[in-house]
């Protein structure tokens, strides 16, 4: 997902008998559905895992602007351009909500940015794929935002208050993202042969990377088990992936497009589709930095950070000068 493969600390779920009294009281609060707030006592592992997870999520929102930003100047109509601009602006907002949530845990915004730029923190693998045609704007909204929604909706109930509140705000805005993407796909699927082919090609390229967004199967992962006990992860990766496929396949059929998976078939017994797993070797390559656009994405973020330095410094200096002048006038 936007936060893939976030490792919690330690070797697995801590047993109740092994917990300190504070840890036990903390777990009881979570089990009772209480929200944990920034100044409350929390285990160091909870704090650390959440910083990684929320930080990665925030970075994904910010880096996620790049593949779509690529098409703002080339949108086919003024209306589409305004819509895409609004969508990309929302993603900037999502990044900011999430950075603020992470900051309440005691890490600074600058630290997180530096960790992204020097590779200590990650962002979602999906944003390392290029957006080659206008139809990709449709596929990204429909599939990528669709997959994000699948993960973010349950996170509205996560145990950490600031994270849950950021998710609630984000979820309110995401539905527009998915619908505008599907709207682009509908328009193209009903268009000329060339437009239909473009839509199909976008689906072909984004299908498996979208399935990868949920991360590899984690049903045996001790990290995931601990995160689920802490309610900072609400479902297994496989559960969410299945839900996403079940929701998306009929939508593809509606569009008259073909999901690029020959093995796809309805399984009556489980009440869901059987489908092919993405190529996990490719996934591991992409998250370790070797995807098609990793270098470009990081270069763009680094350039924005470096080029913005004089603005950050200048405005701060100006604010200080103004304050000094006001003090002198008093």
């Amino acid at each position: 997902m936007y936060a893939q493969m976030v490792k919690s600390t330690g070797k697995g779920v801590i047993l109740r008998e092994e917990m300190s009294p504070e840890e036990r009281a903390f777990q009881d609060r979570i089990d009772a559905g209480e929200k944990i707030e920034p100044k409350d006592w929390m285990p160091a592992g909870y704090r650390k895992t959440l910083i990684r997870q929320i930080g990665q999520h925030a970075h994904s929102e910010i880096v996620g602007q790049l593949p779509e930003g690529n098409w703002i100047t080339r949108a086919p109509t003024l209306e589409r351009k305004a819509i895409l601009l609004a969508k990309v602006q929302d993603e900037a907002g999502h990044g900011l909500y999430l950075y603020c949530a992470a900051e309440t845990l005691g890490i600074s915004r600058d630290e997180m940015t530096e960790m992204l730029l020097d590779g200590r923190m990650k962002y979602s693998s999906i944003f390392n794929y290029p957006t080659l045609t206008w139809a990709d704007m449709g596929a990204v909204g429909w599939l990528v935002d669709g997959a994000a929604i699948m993960n973010q909706v349950p996170l509205q109930r996560t145990s950490f208050g600031p994270y849950a509140r950021a998710m609630i705000r984000i979820c309110k805005e995401e539905s527009f993202h998915q619908r505008q993407g599907f709207d682009i796909m509908m328009t193209m699927a009903r268009g000329t042969d060339a437009q239909r082919a473009m839509a199909q090609d976008a689906l072909n390229r984004f299908w498996y990377p979208s399935l990868m967004m949920f991360g590899p199967s984690d049903k045996d992962s001790v990290h995931s088990a601990q995160s689920m006990a802490w309610r900072i992860k609400m479902n297994t990766n496989d559960e969410l992936r299945q839900k996403f496929v079940d929701q998306t396949v009929p939508q593809a059929e509606y569009l008259g497009l073909t999901v690029p998976d020959d093995s796809l078939s309805w399984n009556e017994d489980k009440g869901g589709y059987d489908f092919a797993e993405p190529d996990w070797d490719e996934f591991f390559e992409v998250i370790s930095g070797n995807g098609p656009c990793n270098a470009d994405r990081l270069a763009a973020r680094t350039k924005a950070w470096d080029d913005g330095a004089w603005v950050r410094e200048g405005l701060l200096a100006h604010a200080e000068k103004k304050r000094a002048r006001e003090r002198a006038a008093q």
């Binding site: 707030e37 100044k39 409350d40 006592w41 609004a86 602006q89 929302d90 907002g93 900011l96 909500y97 603020c100 900051e103 600074s108 915004r109 600058d110 530096e114 509140r165 950021a166 705000r169 805005e173 330095a309 950050r312 410094e313 405005l315 701060l316 100006h318 604010a319 103004k322 304050r323």
Partner: protein, 94 residues
């Protein structure tokens, strides 16, 4: 590395004559910029008609560990609620 812009807490009054509500926070060099940024970050869909910004460092918060002594005493004072009193139906609306 230079210092970060300070953190501001953002309060917004919605459309319906409600009080300003805490919406979240953001970084900005000064109060005016904080208001401008808050407009872009928190009111992209008509969520507000008025914005307050307060530097986060200026807020004093009650301590979470004092939650019990602070708030428990009001729990037992049920007589502060109208439902505590049994008024016969004959009296009419009250």
């Amino acid at each position: 590395m230079t210092a970060e812009w300070p953190l501001w807490e953002i309060f917004i009054r919605g459309q319906h004559g409600m009080s300003h509500r805490h919406m979240g926070s953001l970084h900005a060099p000064d109060a005016e910029t904080a208001i401008r940024n808050a407009r872009d970050v928190y009111t992209r869909r008509n969520e507000g008609v008025s914005i307050w910004v307060v530097e986060a460092a200026a807020i004093t918060a009650s301590s979470p560990s004092a939650k019990g002594p602070m708030f428990d005493p009001s729990e037992s004072k049920v007589y502060r609620h109208p439902s505590f009193y049994d008024i016969p139906d004959d009296v009419g609306a009250m």
